[in-house]
């Protein structure tokens, strides 16, 4: 049945298509940022709202991009700060109520099938065509571009944050002849940055043994379930695990690989700092920056802050002073395929009353020229995601080891693994979070993996096996779903 809303959509699409050819030719020739600014001037005096993660992330539109957009176009930007845990809920509530309170959105890519399925996101293809943005979209790093932009062959979001897990290690410790000699004596092997989880489990405890008297442990990770859930997804797949049997859609997270990963993860806590099970983003950061851990895995801001980049700014005063600047090396986490772990796409809400203005704002934000400035904001947590970001002379000169940092991020942007993204992803993720939580509480890894798999099966059955199978099949066929073994 064609509803009034559908008729409206068709009208907009037809209008956009009609004006496409001329405008697209004109726009393609120009810089996408300038094109957006020129087109947006017609909306001067209006206000658009954008949902943004609360905290440091939101300082980008509050302090930088929002005021700049206002200055260039006369359009006010109202930033709606929402905590990550509430973003999906708020976006869905706004859509379900039809309030239209949000114009543009920050969306975690793994939510996109759910939001698109519900009808909450606007198809961006007609706008991309009209404003000639397709060429610049192609310059987004392949993992993000090919995996996080589209649902059912249509563009619903512009990948805008190069979230990826990176392993940070202490170069000075790994290069220390005394540590190397002690390691050789204890293991008979040369000390090297681990490239597999087996190597990690062989290296970490020995480093703890060698360095503990100096107050340093072999490694430390964030272990709170929302973070570890991503680490499990990454490690499980790097070790050869698959989430589902593609034929039956039965969960296979309780396979031998799943149980081994859980068992190993808990065993590692024994040689990590006491209480690591409680660590979140900040605790892990503090321990690494204060020299308490020789290795850690986290998102890109750790690397910048460890180098001391921007930490003199007032808004980053809470970041512990780095005692390890210049001593940090960057590598892929063991297994070589890092989790992309959340990230953000810029989208337009289907209920927006200012869709065109909202679209132009996100095109401008995401453009080559403006995004390069945004990913260098030391406080805003947006990480490099375009090919040009990794090779920017300006960024490369930000601190002495910036080239190694950007090379690691670029490698992650090539080899990265997508977060699981199917229908009702959060339900599956919640089962994983509970599994991790029970793991730290001391439950049997096999039993909790079986329980999580049973939860997954129940969720799949409720959604419909065939329905989910189709969505999972589309996800699993993406280049970043599973490592190429």
């Amino acid at each position: 049945m064609v509803t009034r809303r559908d008729v409206g959509k068709l009208g907009v699409a037809a209008g956009l298509a009609g004006s496409t050819s001329f405008a697209a030719r004109q726009a393609a020739a120009a810089d996408a940022a300038q094109t957006a600014v020129d087109a947006a001037k017609q909306f001067s005096g209006q206000t658009i709202s954008i949902v943004w993660e609360a905290g440091l992330q939101a300082l980008d539109p509050l302090n930088f991009s929002g005021p700049k957009w206002k200055e260039l176009t006369g359009i006010d930007v109202k930033v709606v700060e929402v905590s990550t845990a509430e973003m999906f809920t708020k976006i869905m509530q706004d859509y379900k109520s039809g309030a239209g309170a949000y114009d543009a959105l920050n969306v975690i890519p793994s939510w996109m099938p759910d939001l698109v399925n519900a009808g909450a996101l606007e198809d961006l293809d007609p706008y991309v065509e009209k404003y000639g943005f397709r060429e610049e979209l192609q310059k987004i790093a392949s993992t993000y571009r090919d995996n996080q932009m589209m649902v059912n062959g249509k563009i619903y979001g512009f990948p805008d944050d190069g979230d990826v897990f990176v392993m940070y290690f202490r170069k000075d410790i790994f290069a220390d002849p005394a540590v190397q000699a002690a390691f050789k004596e204890k293991t008979g092997k040369d000390l090297a940055v681990p490239t597999t989880w087996a190597e990690f489990d062989a290296t970490g405890p020995v480093l703890t043994e060698i360095l503990k008297d100096k107050g340093t442990y072999g490694a430390g990770f964030f272990r709170q379930p929302p973070y570890t859930m991503f680490m499990f997804q990454e490690r499980f797949r790097n070790e050869g695990g698959k989430f589902f049997d593609p034929d039956t859609m039965k969960a296979t997270i309780n396979s031998d690989v799943g149980v081994k990963v859980l068992t190993d993860m808990r065993a590692e806590n024994a040689w990590m700092p006491p209480g690591v099970e409680q660590w979140g983003f900040v605790e892990n950061l503090a321990a690494f920056l204060q020299g308490q851990t020789a290795m850690t895995i986290s998102w890109p801001p750790y690397g910048r802050w460890a180098a001391g980049y921007g930490t003199d700014q007032e808004v980053l005063s809470w970041v512990p002073k780095s005692t390890i600047a210049g001593k940090v090396g960057y590598a892929m986490p063991p297994g070589g395929h890092p989790e992309l772990a959340a990230g953000f796409c810029l989208s337009v809400a289907s209920t927006s009353k200012n869709k065109e203005a909202a679209y132009l704002f996100i095109q401008w934000l995401n453009s080559e020229a403006i995004s390069l400035q945004r990913v260098q904001l030391p406080y805003a947590l947006r990480d490099p995601f375009r090919d040009s970001h990794f090779t920017s002379a300006e960024y490369l000169s930000r601190w002495p080891d910036a080239k190694d940092y950007l090379a690691a991020l670029q490698a992650g942007a090539t080899n990265g693994l997508l977060d699981l993204s199917v229908l009702q992803t959060d339900k599956y993720e919640e089962a994983l979070r509970q599994m991790i939580s029970k793991l730290w509480a001391g439950d049997d890894p096999k039993a909790i993996a079986d329980a999580a798999a049973a939860d997954w099966d129940a969720i799949t059955d409720k959604i419909g096996v065939d329905k989910q199978k189709a969505v999972y099949g589309a996800w699993a066929s993406k280049s970043g779903a599973y490592p190429k073994m």
């Binding site: 519900a118 099970e277 959060d426 919640e430 939580s437 029970k438 509480a441």
Partner: protein, 295 residues
Amino acid sequence: MPAIAAHHQPDRNFKYWIIAPAIFLLLAVGLFPLIYSLVVSFMRIDMMDTDTSFAGLYNYKQLFKDLRLWQSLLHTLIITAVALPLELLFGLAMAYLFLEKMPGRQIFVSLLVLPTIISPIVAGATWRLLLDNQYGPINQILGWFAGHRVNLLWTINPFLVYPAIIFCEIWQWTPFMFLILLAALSNVDKSQTEAAEIDGASFIRTFRYIVLPAIWPVMAIAILIRGLDLFRIFDIIWALTMGGPGTMTETISIYTYTMGFKQFETSYTAAIAFLVIAILTVVVTWAIRRMGLAK
């Protein structure tokens, strides 16, 4: 005097017009959502579908198969059953302590009441920091007594997580009991207690036969209010454990929130809400009769 009666008729109707907006408002914000929720509970609305056709008792049947729901109810009852008597006991003891005039009494009372004016979510977040293994002072203080570093994971260890939650709950809400019971005790007829004392009655007998009957109506209300509060406990646990480890401390409010606002199981959540309403109606009715509050 028919002419006068006719003259006054408009005045009698006018009073209804005055209260009509208030009645309308009450119905709009109270009754309408209740009825609407009931209607929704017979549909199948979730994140993916807005199926508003009549689904019969589907959601209510699901309730009986939902082990997590019953576990969350059990967790709620455990917390209520432990915290409520302890709050009552400590509140009563403190009220007795402050019954007599003493120097600085007003200041102490004011200080003791402070936890109740803190938002529960803030209290929970504060206790989470206090109980933090790495930076929290609780483990540090315990370490001083133990003579070595204490590494208790209060919000993760299954044996510690309930004591931690119940301790925080008691810390925040005992002062509420204390205040109410202090007011009640202050109104007990002193001549009766003094007479009992002169007659040689023990403290327990005096309390049992003179004080308790006098303060019971107030105490019963306090128990009822705190019992209902504990039944819908959310904030402190959310801030401390988010219902973990696993779902070990998930209460009925947390489960309802998760179903409704994280997983968008709208119709099923409405059914849960009506289950809770039904349980509370039965319990509260029984409690009111049992406590003699209906008299």
